[in-house]
């Protein structure tokens, strides 16, 4: 500690302070779960729930919900490229295009 470069330590403190001042704003509650796609079957719908906020997506910026609907689907900002858990894009109004099949596997609609 005796041999520390004090000017560099000041620079380090400045870096931490700058990061603190510019820290991201709090996001929506992590419990804000949005269902974004479903698998349609003859017997009904199987829904796939997804917590967008856990991926750091910000409602109103990265995505938005389209109402009225009992299911929240997406309108995603095309300038902020994202993929879902399976690597699929959310570029446009998300008409449900995928879901979970009877085996529990995620599957794209043909």
């Amino acid at each position: 500690m005796r041999k520390i470069k004090w000017p560099l330590l000041l620079v380090a403190v400045f870096g931490v302070c700058a990061a603190y001042v510019n820290k991201p704003a709090p996001k929506a509650s992590p419990k804000d779960i949005h269902t974004y796609s479903y698998w349609y079957t003859a017997s009904g719908h199987m829904y796939y729930g997804f917590d967008c906020t856990s991926l750091g997506w910000i409602q109103g910026l990265d995505y938005d919900c389209i109402y009225p609907s009992s299911i929240c689907t997406f309108a995603a900002d095309p300038t902020r490229s994202h993929s879902d858990a399976t690597g699929n894009y959310f570029f446009t109004w998300d008409v449900p295009v995928a879901g979970i099949n009877y085996d529990g596997a995620f599957q794209l609609f043909p």
Partner: protein
Amino acid sequence: MLRGLIPALLVLLFTYTSADKLFGLETFTGSLYNQPIPHRLAFLLSRIIPIAEILTAGCLLFPRTQRIGLYASLFLLTIFTVYIAAILLHFFRKIPCSCAGIFRHITWQQHLWINLLLLVLTGLALLPALGRHLRSPLNHSI
């Protein structure tokens, strides 16, 4: 003068970026999930990267460990530059957001140029040490 400024620049870079990641750890983890890497690896990296950056900045603060810090900086910057280049060369299916700290407002191309500049500067800072190593008697005897 430049030799003194480069470690300061790197300390600023690594303390800012690591603190930014730790202050918004959830957001940073989320942004890594949006990168074209497996989710388990993304979670692991979200913890490893800030720690590596803090350790690098810490090494740069002390004269005895500054050279190690410069090599660590070179290593981290090289990995990230290669990753950016891979993105720009379309090695991945999509171009993810560049969403860390001050860099969230710049494009990947700008990001690449900044990284290349930092890489060159780090290399310049390491040149005297490399020169000493090459001139050392032990090296000549090999």
